[in-house]
Symmetry: C2
Subunit: 203 residues, 2 copies
């Protein structure tokens, strides 16, 4: 049997719907023998291409999103708390992920889950390097090394390259997933993604 | 037992996701003893409030939507054909609906289903009064009377009032539904809407 390729999971740490997807995607993929490549990105760069505004700045939509997020989390049975600022600037968190991933992809994944849990599970601000470092410290990561790393040009360039690659693939929202080359946008498309995995499994 | 209030179903005849929702909403509501009030509106007026652009004019999103719509229709098992122009100007169709509804709400509902079926089921253009009249004629509606009606100031004012009322309730997309006063945006929220109806039924 040919090994199925990993699912690519693009998200922005500032995206609450990305958080909801992050809580489901690993288990969902595993049920169909797939792994997941977590790819944090800067959604703001994609929004320049589409002309979109941050959700929480849009009249009518922001009010709706506040209700929808609470309802969605309740239906999924997961914790959700509004952070004090939405959206945060997620540069430090995303850079920290790629810095960690260089040496230890498993730790990078644990860090991403911890960062999302802090930000949207408990409603903590993770909008600067010191706060990101505090989250990372709970996993035994040296906070000073993290603060130093996320200011390094090569880490900044790495995140920019990942973001550019995502946009080149058509990513314009968070969460945004690919099964092989088939795109799925939004936590509300995980059901369609699962149908795709089920069809593949039946072949 | 107190009669449950109807579900309000706001949509734009130019909205392909509104079409997908239109094929499910009546049966879904009926399973929980609810009726549906179909409320066509001019989404463009709401998009002025939110600063949104027509989906098919947005880089990246338009390409994605073309794939997503075909996949969504396949998963639902319903016909879907891209019309030659997206979006059409849906003024004539929406005005025709309210004109018909004055005398015969059942006929207005049948007209709405026929118009959506023509536009997105078979991919026909319904962007002007004569094309709308041709659809209506298949239901025995006098096409000349329709063309005359949709040009009348009071019918134009009626659609504008319905659209303004929708925006005042927070409607910014299509489909957009209310169960009592709880909002649900998108065909992908019909599952959450059903959960709400189920909870109500269990009370």
């Amino acid at each position: 049997m040919v090994q199925a390729s990993p699912i690519d999971f693009y998200f922005d740490f500032a995206s609450p719907y990305g958080y909801l997807a992050s809580l489901r995607i690993d288990d969902l993929a595993a049920r169909y023998g797939r792994t997941v490549r977590w790819r944090p990105m800067m959604l703001g760069a994609a929004m320049k291409v589409t002309g979109a505004q941050p959700l929480m700045n849009i009249p009518l939509r922001a009010d709706y999103a506040r209700r929808d997020l609470v309802r969605f989390a309740r239906i999924l049975g997961v914790p959700f708390t509004f952070p004090p600022t939405m959206p945060i600037v997620s540069l430090a968190a995303a850079r920290a992920f790629y810095w960690l991933e260089e040496d230890d992809p498993v730790l990078a994944h644990r860090f991403a889950k911890a960062a999302y849990e802090a930000h949207f599970g408990r409603g903590e601000d993770i909008g600067d390097a010191s706060r990101v470092a505090a989250v990372a410290a709970t996993l035994g990561i040296d906070p000073d090394a993290l603060v130093d790393a996320v200011a390094r040009p090569e880490i900044k360039a790495r995140l920019k390259a990942e973001t550019d690659a995502a946009i080149a693939r058509g990513v314009f929202g968070s969460p945004f997933l690919f099964v092989d080359d088939e795109p799925f946008w939004g936590v509300d498309r995980l059901d369609h993604l699962e149908i795709r995995l089920k069809e593949d499994a039946g072949r």
